[in-house]
Symmetry: D2
Subunit: 365 residues, 4 copies
């Protein structure tokens, strides 16, 4: 049994990691570190663990935490904070999976521009391996430090990557209209997250300027310039993606009155006429061996079909009238968009079957 | 007091009309016609009217209804059905406001293509006046038959019209990603409208092929070819919109787990660089005298700020990086998107102040 | 036009008062006083008023407020705070309707015990008139200071009062299981009021020890000892309620994931067998002339049938097996449970028809 | 690996069984029988199973189903229908767990009175073992036919049983006010289960006359007359429960706008004064060895803490003022209230650890 710990255990992502690790047959939870709740029983904050093996688990302070006793550490901390902790932990033989935005850009200039924070460990940012499993599986297996992708980014990239490698796609036309449940905002005490302000309503926020825009665009462009080997559904056997062409995307997130789940509706122009079957071939090539990505044909993704599971569901429609493709992508933001993908990464690092501890299907109704 | 009647009184739109007319100081409800519930008391189906002046109101069958006793009739019926009823009622001196899709296209070929139904009264379709008040106020005042716009269409056109007359807008780039509460689907017994199937989830439907696509596009193109006089926010004093250029839009609706409200997020490319202030000027010209359209500057529309009211709230963001405009438009689908706009039309026809009976602000929280 | 002001205008009750007064044909809003938001535009905090006559309304600080310029002042403040403000305002000729718990008990000892706060104006508490209109209409008309009842209390008393005067009722058997929407908790920044903590779940709170217990019991016992004249549905023509018998109630509130509305399910033992028709007679006597109380016979109250309106809907079932009565009472906690009832009180004080500005029916769906 | 099948696989309970069995390490799903959907792929009806081992699973018709190929069959069918199927399946060596109401009463007269249906297999009803694990564990282990308890009944009995054996409890005073999520109503096409009719509202139904009343009362009285051996928390070492005294309960269910979960608030009079610690001792005796029942002390149960898990959470408050006990009980109606408890029963029958496949904690947020 591998020993794993979580720093930042009492945020929503932390608690979701605990839930998954609690059910995982090959790992043992070592330490749960929480700044705000050190010394308290886990069940006094999250009563859903009462009766489980975590019934008597006491949260630990950072100063009492010995990283070397764990085989792997998840850091589920705010950006800015995470870099400091990770740079202390790094290089001591313990693997790290970081769930913040701090290590998702090799080039910290992009990070600094969009996050408005100075990056103190640019060399670590260059070392970090981007943890979108379907894109980067091989590198993940040997990584010391994983940057777990953003939730919106996961939903968007899974939908986009096959088409981005399609030579007929207009890389400047990408528009992503994404909708997220409220858990994405974390357990923060803000007036606009109160039930009375959020229920039975909906809004857009940060239209065109959300941080995840930059992450989506950054990874797409890394992909286009050949930083990621996999051809990802190209219709040719070999394709030279070392291109000067760059994708420029427009991303607008919305808050919807549900707890979990992201639905991203993505729009893309084609430069020549295509067909549904040609595009379907791209998606099937990209994902037909993937355990956690489903490409639907006759139906459309719905959040309820993935919420509570690590699956992504995708569908697309080719709109001949406008020569555009509409791609719809649904994930659980807490699972494939955060803790589930982190465990998938952990499984790869530990050389376990990728789906270990992640086989639950959506909780419905 | 004017006498008004409703045919199709027990659907959700019918009941919303009853609610508004019940509170309206200048009209009196004459007959409420319902095929399915004729003979029953209104309060036995909709108990919210208990105690009101409609406490003892009995629903009437079509065969017992005498149209000539009403000054105005609202028809709130399914498309296809409505044409038959309206063509019987028309021309007898009673004004008609039809809330179906049947009379929204002067050219019935477009209707027939998108609705898959033969139109039996093409001449009436040509007579009908399109009831988007902000676009067509003058013609509405003298109309015999109003085609009340679709809910998605109202939200979309109010957001788009000022920009469509902007010479820098790429009329082929328009993408509308719209989200609607479940009341938009009416009171129909379908499995996918059950609470357990709709709550805490979200989905897209009819991506790119929803009927309201055609209505949005049809009206935009009528507008572009000068069928509607108003310049609608053009920055020049005079603008010749008699253009051959046509708009082609892509529209995708989504179902969200709220009762009422539509949020439309609209994307549009510009052909040249512009600025927020230049675009704001267009919106202000278009709407600064409009009672029911609010253009927000520093905040964004939310459904809760309009649900329960006849207001539309709009905002836009000019995204310099991609040279696109993101427009966000929020309405209550039952009010500005249906019954409220119908009453606004009625007020114009009766030469009443436009806001009579429509002054309620959103019900919040 | 009467001039009215609100102190505490930006809480949820304050904002609901503004909404009602904005639509009220016989009053004019004079000052909106807010400690936290003085100097700001109302629409910057509550954008739903954009476009209305309150579009340019600026919130005022207490020190800039001149009470004598208003005919009536609503105080919508936390308990404890309200007493101080009301005692300053009182006696200067301006009527006051207080929506806090501070003046609901003539005997401040009860207040002090349940609220854990010293009462600084016991003589004012003795002067205050309890504003449950259906119980106390005549006294309200001439009152200087109204104590507007608690939301749970209104739902409970309307359901209970007819039966409490019934000689067969066991006054020690009353159990009230009440369920409230989240707006009842106000706009307070508490973790347990976040959407993620409140949606798709339910809980009880303060079982048996909520403050409203004491208010329900206090008023019932005042009623039993003849402090309120009306016989309230007794089956005898004259009934001497000056009894030594006292009611002792058990009250448990619950939080449900809706915005507005209270449903109270009330249980009461009978000492002798009775019948549905005998009990119905009590309810009909009590309420058949009441504009805002509906007694249902064949159906049961639902929150959706009253939410958005000032109506209460009641029904009861006599359970012969156990010789108990189950009473179900539904109100909108923001309206009949707070702001609506306050306006109803105001109408009485101003000698207006009781329903003025309160005729809206429930907003449905 | 044991082979198990489900008859009635596509109702909500059926689908929840599939989800649990899919994750269960010791069983293999053999046949999924569905009358309405025979021949279809499971994933075409419930897309959440796409990508799982059930990806290609085809639903089977009853006539193609061979019961003898399964070790155990779950019947998840409407009452009335279930008796017919079960009586055909019974006695052929395959164990049966029935989730309908058909076999929950040894005395079919009670069943016939409350269900309004003639029972065709009274002898089987006498054979069936009542599957409330905490009450009846030993008998369940050897049973051929299990009657899985009703959802409301499970929540109520777990809360009540310890106190019912308490000699100071007034057995005629029990009032149960229960609240259930909408999944409890199944996937039935009824107007009152539409999202628009159910969301943001709440109602009571069948007050005092719901079928589960009779099941709760029946089991309580069986228990009181010594039909179940366990003393269930009595404070004496030995207690003679063979009493003539009978419990008479009053039960009122409510529908709340959540998907899953039941919260039951139970009221009970005591005949003598007691104390919180005395009562706590009863609950601890009853449940301190139970894996799936948690007794909370300082906090109260909430549905979110159990939804998605097989746990029940209980708390009580002794109200000294009225000498009553308030018990609050929360379960997931689909799990501990249906499919989870059925799997717990199956584990006992197969001599597996009771928690096998049931260790998931609540899905939160």
């Amino acid at each position: 049994m591998k020993k794993v710990s979580i720093i930042g255990a009492t945020g929503y992502v932390g608690i979701e990691l605990i839930r998954l690790l609690h059910d995982h047959p090959e790992v043992e939870i070592k330490d749960l570190v929480s700044k705000s709740s050190a010394g308290q029983l886990l069940v006094d904050i999250y009563p859903q663990f009462r009766g489980s093996i975590l019934n008597d688990y006491q949260l630990r302070a950072m100063e009492d935490f010995k990283p070397e006793e764990s085989d792997l550490i998840f850091t589920a901390l705010p950006h800015g904070v995470s870099q400091n902790i990770v740079s202390e932990l790094y290089g001591k033989g313990t693997k790290i999976i970081d769930l913040s935005g701090d290590f998702r850009y090799h080039d910290v200039k992009v990070y600094e521009k969009w996050y408005g924070v100075k990056h103190k460990s640019p060399e670590l940012a260059r070392e970090a391996v981007y943890g979108l499993v379907e894109l980067n599986r091989e590198k993940i297996k040997g990584a010391e430090l994983i940057a777990n992708p953003g939730c919106y980014v996961t939903a968007s990239l899974l939908g986009l990557l096959p088409l981005v490698s399609f030579e007929k796609a207009d890389l400047n036309s990408i528009i992503i209209d994404a909708k997220s449940g409220v858990s994405g905002a974390g357990r923060s005490l803000k007036e606009n997250l109160l039930f009375t302000e959020t229920h039975n309503t909906m809004k857009a926020y940060s239209p065109g300027v959300h941080r995840h825009s930059s992450e989506i665009e950054y990874v797409l462009n890394q992909f286009l310039t050949g930083k990621y080997k996999k051809t990802f559904g190209s219709l040719k056997d070999q394709i030279d993606l070392e291109t000067e062409e760059k994708a420029k995307i427009l991303f607008t997130p919305h808050l919807i009155p549900i707890k979990r789940g992201i639905l991203a509706t993505i729009y893309l122009d084609l430069e020549e006429q295509s067909s549904g079957s040609e595009i379907m071939e791209l998606y099937q090539r990209a994902y037909n061996k993937e355990r956690f990505v489903q490409v639907l044909k006759d139906s459309l993704p719905e959040i309820k079909n993935v919420a509570g599971s690590n699956y992504a569901q995708l569908a697309f429609r080719y709109n001949k009238r406008t020569n555009r493709v509409i791609i719809i992508s649904a994930i659980d933001n807490m699972l494939k968009g955060a803790a589930g993908q982190a465990v998938q990464n952990m499984n790869l690092i530990f050389n376990l079957p990728e789906e270990t501890g992640l086989e639950a299907t959506a909780l419905f109704p």
